[in-house]
């Protein structure tokens, strides 16, 4: 139970959450709630692992994983943007579709041993920084470093670029953006696609880097749902998402590690002796997610947190009585 190891592993697992959360932030900023993150992650993880194994090229796997999840997201986009169906229902259905498809298509993959994986390395120089070095810059996967770049880049894009400004506008008040000639429908498709690709990247990060392999639905183990909750926790801001994702990653790791040692703080480890307690611990991140989702669904809370005002509302031009 070395805190450095827990934090280091926390950053690695947190990277998975980070990608999925940023992806969902993009979709929700555009006004589309996509509860299919879990399903898209599974499809991403499965296809990335499968392609990496059969071609021996992990990067090709990542690319295919992202594209497959991105394509899956367009199903949701079509249903909620074109057909204007309920976003919650469609998102849930997408998770079922993604989960089911990945289980069927991934049949037999779980026996395949890990083949080509993504590289891991230390960053010379930065790794030598006391405390932070070993946690953030030592023996991490290339995906972790990508996460360090992606979050600030996404933040900059959303708040300091013209397309980012348009993105915020279509999630806040699409009629205003539409009246100024912003193509709401095309942009919403696009950002749902971006969200899907990032969910795929999150999946690929699991199956090719963080915990390599294909373990059916246990591969993601509900992390897609945690990501959906983290979006609210992060107040739709990629930089806050970074903090939340790593904290949740570390928490997951701590819950695993705390069951190991026979002695904890000098006493016998009750988490080792009482199996039921560990179930309770393992439940915590999910319970926390459920609580965030419930609290975050209240109108007043949403407004205070700065939820995109048009989140979940289909856009129809010239509709009266909005």
């Amino acid at each position: 139970m070395d805190p450095i190891i827990i934090l280091q592993a926390g950053v690695a697992t947190g990277t998975v959450l980070l990608f999925a959360t940023i992806g969902e932030i993009f979709a929700e900023r555009a006004g589309v709630l996509n509860l299919g993150v879990e399903g898209m992650m599974l499809m991403g993880a499965m296809s990335a692992f499968s392609v990496a194994n059969s071609t021996g090229n992990a990067w090709l796997g990542v690319l295919v994983g992202m594209l497959v999840a991105g394509l899956l997201s367009q199903l949701h986009a079509f249903i909620v943007i074109q057909l204007q169906a309920d976003q919650v229902v469609s998102g849930l259905a997408l998770t079922f579709v993604g989960t089911g498809l990945s289980l069927v298509l991934g049949e037999g993959l779980s026996k395949a041993g890990a083949g080509a994986l993504l590289p891991r390395f230390s960053l010379p120089g930065l790794a030598a920084i006391p405390f932070l070095g070993p946690i953030f810059f030592t023996n991490q996967s290339v995906m972790v470093y990508l996460g360090y770049l992606l979050a600030p880049a996404a933040w900059y894009y959303i708040y300091h670029t013209r397309p980012g400004m348009n993105l915020r506008a279509i999630g806040e008040y699409p009629a205003a953006a539409d009246s100024m000639g912003v193509n709401i429908y095309r942009l919403r498709y696009f950002y749902v696609f971006v969200g899907g690709m990032l969910a795929g990247l999150a999946g690929a990060t699991i199956s090719l880097a963080v915990s390599p392999g294909w373990f059916s639905e246990l591969t993601t183990g509900g992390q897609g749902w945690i990501a959906v909750g983290l979006v609210i926790f992060a107040q739709w801001n990629p930089l806050r998402a970074m903090f939340g994702a790593y904290a949740f990653g570390a928490l997951r790791r701590l819950i695993l590690d705390i069951q190991g040692p026979a002695l904890l703080f000098g006493a016998s480890n009750i988490f080792k002796t009482h199996q039921s307690l560990t179930y309770f611990l393992e439940m915590l991140p999910y319970a926390f997610t459920v609580i965030i989702l419930v609290i975050g669904s209240r109108e007043a809370v949403r407004n205070r947190l700065g939820a995109p005002a048009a989140l979940g509302v289909p856009y129809v031009r010239g509709e009266r009585g909005r």
Partner: protein, 502 residues
Amino acid sequence: MIEPSSVIQMRGIVKRFPGVLASDHVDFELRRGEIHALLGENGAGKSTLMNILAGLYRADEGTIVVHDKPVNFSSPRQAIQAGIGMIHQHFMLVPSQSVTENILLGLDHPRFRLRLAENERRVAELGEQFGLKVDPKAKIWQLSVGEQQRVEILKMLYRGADILILDEPTAVLGPAETEQLFKTLRGMTTQGKSIIFISHKLNEVMAIADRVTVMRRGKVTAADVSTKSTSTAELARLMVGREVLFRVQKQPQTPGPVVLAIEDLTATNDRGLPALQKLNLQVHAGEIVGLAGVAGNGQRELAEVATGLRRAASGRILLNGENLTNQPVRRAIARGLAHVPEDRNRVGSSPNLSLTDNMIMKQYLQSPIGRGWQLDAGEAAAFAQRLKQSYEISAPSVETQARLLSGGNLQRLILAREITAQPKAMIAMQPTQGLDVGAVEVVHRLLLEQRQQGVAILLISEELDELLSLSDRVAVIYEGAIVGEVTDGDIEKIGQLMTGSV
């Protein structure tokens, strides 16, 4: 003198909505440098015609020529490129973004990186040039309605629009802000801009417009009317198709006993700040009490607390002696409290429900419409049909969704519903906002009839003319308390009380 050249020519414009011919072979012409008023009853098709011109709707038939070039817009973007900018009835601004961000929305430059400082300077310069002062850094939600409107105009000017369409720009403005807007508009015409101005307030039209086009039921009934050679009465007649009584006939009448009593009422607004501070007010049977005040001094909260929609922190609301403070809304309804809310689209009606459903909202519990836990659909439809006829609500059928009604017709529906419930007291907030002269006349007549019937009416309005002509007394609200009362129609006194300077 140079020939007045036309910048816009619309010919034979037809637009059909399900069940409505909103625009029936309409011709319209705008000349360079003029302010052209578009007049018409609610639902006459003014907004529809302008939405076509602004590229928001597509005409089913007809041609549009802008600056001598035929155009066929399929999006607002193309209209803006042709120099046409529309300022809508509902502002098209993103509340969480800054003034400058809103102005840059949808533009192609800056290409990627926002350098707001530069653009903020340009926005400030433009504001200077046209007399539209507003802080480029401020977030929209922090601005007053008048300032938001300036942002809307700036947005169009920034894009180089030389034709501006303003759809009821003054409906939401106070007198001072209206004056300011008119000054700006006049200034813009001298700089070569042409303006289309939609309004229901005829004296404004007379004051600001050069020419007028009048529409009725989707058709143009009068075009090329010069304001120099017409009068408000003439315009009203052209609009409504009959003489309009501008003077309301109010019978003298001695008020009865107190029906609605509000005692030491204290409440907070949505942000938890004090909105009502020990407010006292009484309304007698057969009396209309007008409540004057600058918007945001607690009028909305008063109406909500009194009807049970908002909690009172302390104080009491008595209806015929019965305490209704913090009681369920249904209790107030059962005791005969009617409510004509400010927001007729979201509070006063349920937009996606049919006319019938909206009309039976106060009747569905009682026979004959309510039978135990069932609804008698036949009775409901018959009831709605009766109301639709006697209150002259024009709609394709009682199955039509309420959101498709024009403002005036929706207000008739709400009044019809409230009045047939035979109230003892009524709270009406801004009942004529955005209504045409004919509809205003109807609403006024209905309110006075209720007064005649002995209903105690609290009329909350920002139109002083309306308050003075309808009310028996005018109370003035300032910072959540009644600061004075006027019975002799002394406008000056009311004005002083409203600004808290007495």
